[in-house]
Structures are given as C-alpha cells and as structure tokens.
Amino acid sequence: MNLEPGPNATTIGGGLGANHGALIIRIAQRRDRTAFIVLFQPYGSRVKSYLRRWGAADAMSEDLAREALLPIWRKANRFDPAKAGASSWIFTIARNLWIDPLRKERRPELDPTDPLLVPDDPEDAEDADNAQEIEQRDGLLRTALGTLPAKQAEVVRLACDRLRGIIGDHPS
C-alpha cells in the first residue's frame, strides 16, 4: 500500500481522500496498522491545526491531536460510512476532545440508543443508507465550499442559510 502523498497532492474538489472511510473499516475488521499509518499523517496534522485555532498551545495541541487519533484505532467499529465520511467522523472526535481540557466543560451528546429517540422517517433513512451517495454529497459540499472565501465565519453563515432551507422557518 502506498503511503499518503503529501498534503499538497490533495485538491479542494477531491478532498483528502475518498477511500479513507474504507481504511477505517479495514481497521475495524482486520486491525490493519498500515491503514492507521496512512490516516495518521493527513488527519494528525489537520487535527493539530484545528486545535490550535481553538486556542490550544503548541504542546497541548500536539498531545491532544495524538489523543484524537487513537479513537480511529479504538473505536473504528463505531464508524458508519452510511452516516458520515471519514473527515466528518474524525472532526466530531476532535471537536469533542478539546472541549474537556480547554473549556473544562462536558459536551452533552445525543445518545443514539436512547429508548426515547424518535426514529428517522423510514423513507429518509433509505436515502441515507448509501455510502456512495454520502460521498457524492461530500464532494458536492466540498465543491460548493471551494467556491467560497476561505473564511470560516463566512462558511458557517452560509451553512446556516442552507440549514434554514432544510428546516424551514418555524415560529419558534
């Protein structure tokens, strides 16, 4: 297996690598260390970069970034390609990880096994149960974001506008 090419080899349109989800699944199924090594370089460096943006000092961001990579190995069996791409999944791990040490707060999470959970509409679930479609949507999103100014606040604002379209305006 080839090691990941340098970060410059990635393109905005293609993202970090469409096959990274498959590598996480290999880790889950076969404890494949080579797959872990391939994921280490691109995600470790970006998680560190992400943590520094939230104000972590250099040493702390280094330590936390390593901690954020361990769940890729330990919790690979929880990765569900029908729900999230590799980047989204790793993003959620990194996001939850910094809140504890940096903000000294818990981050309450939805529990998907809660007996009270109101299930998704079966028709929607059928749509989402397709990893290929998820990847296509990731690609579309990436392309759309690639055309925006690279300011995070701007992107989040636009994401909100998009959401407003999804949820609709409610009188709450």
Binding site: F40, P42, R46, Y50, R74, A84, I90, T113, D114, L145
Partner: protein, 229 residues
C-alpha cells in the same frame, strides 16, 4: 407503536451550527442534544453540519506533528483498552412510567449524578413550580434547570436580561397563542415578555438561561429575590 409526534418548534439554525462547531456552552448543548432526541429533522441538519466540519477540517493548512508522534501512537495501539469496547451505557431510565424514564438520555446523565431510584429531587420554588438545578451556573452566566409546573399553572409575566430556551419534556404549555409540547423549543430574548400557561398535565421543561430573568408583574418582583430565577 403509535407514530411519534414530531416537534413543531425547532432550534434556530445558528444554534445548531454553534453546537456542531463545539462553540456552544454546556447548558445550551444539553438542550440541543435533548431536542435532537425528539427531532429527526434537526438531527439530520446536525449531521449535515458535521459534514461541513469535516470538510473544513480537510481544508485546514496542516500543522505537522512532531517526528516521534507516529511511533508514540503505534506503541499505544496494543495497550489494554485498545480492543473495541462496548459504548458506555446511558444512565438507566429507571422504572417504566417514572418521571426519570420520560427524560432523554443527555438529561438523565446529569440526574444520575443526583439520584438513581427514579424519583427526582424537586425543590419547591413557588406554589405549582418546582425545579432541579442540573449544573452549577456557568462562567458565562448560563443556568440549566428542570422545571415542573403543575397543571393550569401560569408563570408571572417576565422579561429577560439575556436569552431563555425552554424545551418541553412532558405535558405542554401555551404562550402567546402558541402551543408547545414534548420536543418543542421556545426561545425568548431580551425583547420578549411572556406568560406561559401549562395544559392539563404536569409540564416538565428544561430551561436554559444565560442571564437572570426580570419579572415585570408585581408578583414577579416579589418572588424574584426568593427564587433566583
């Protein structure tokens, strides 16, 4: 199984975005996680936002880890605990039909620290109004509490210094002509003066405030120093 009743009143997109980005504080995050339990639409929206987060992560300029980071990590892969472990079970929902069983897991996880036998440690605030404080007031002034309002209880008119989010967990209330039931979120800000009235059953709500409330009516001004609302 009866079809679930979906919430009619949702969270604002900006709040969901703050939750997904990790920028939202603990109290409001508890409210979001609880609403998501009842609301497939907002859940799907947060999944979309996580996807935005993943895309942004991809596009960050990389900040290389130290040269020994990979070796340090590989050395830990075989540590005990690296075998996939079942996910931590949520706090037990308690006896069926108990108040605790009617509360979503994120809230149960706070209550399990208080009491696990299914009865909740309500403290009376005023006739027909009981509360449980779920966490200490945050550094940002945020406050997270459960309220239990008796049937046909009306809260005094009150306004706000900051924002107030209310998530209905059991029962219902009406406010300014709108009905709020299980899973619904009511949001009030500094321009809102409102006076909710509960329906025919006990109404349990999660209420998050980011600043003390100010009561406008005479009754409110009388009870405010006592209740720390």
């Amino acid at each position: 199984m009866t079809p679930a009743i979906l919430p009619m009143h949702h969270l604002e997109p900006g709040v969901l975005a703050a939750y997904a980005s990790g920028a939202l504080g603990e109290g409001p995050s508890l409210l979001v996680a609880s609403h998501l339990t009842f609301c497939p639409d907002c859940r799907a929206a947060v999944t979309d936002l996580d996807r935005v987060g993943g895309t942004l992560l991809d596009e960050l300029g990389p900040d290389a880890l130290n040269g020994d980071a990979l070796d340090k990590l590989l050395a830990r892969l075989d540590e005990p605990g690296t075998i996939p472990t079942p996910r931590q079970e949520p706090a037990p929902p308690g006896e069926g039909g108990s108040e605790l069983a009617a509360l979503p897991a994120p809230i149960r996880s706070y209550l399990s620290l208080i009491d696990q036998d299914g009865t909740l440690p309500w403290k009376m605030l005023a006739p027909g109004v009981r509360q449980i404080r779920l966490m200490p007031r945050g550094a940002d002034g945020a406050n997270a509490r459960l309220f239990k309002l008796a049937p046909h209880t009306s809260l005094p008119d009150h306004g706000h210094e900051g924002c107030e989010w209310t998530l209905v967990l059991t029962g219902s209330f009406t406010d300014a002509g709108q009905r709020f039931a299980r899973g619904d979120v009511a949001h009030a800000d500094r321009d809102t003066i409102h006076a909710p009235v509960t329906g025919a059953e006990d109404c349990i709500c999660l209420i998050i405030t980011d600043a003390p409330l100010r009561y406008t009516g005479l009754l409110g001004r009388l009870i405010q120093p006592v209740t720390d609302l």
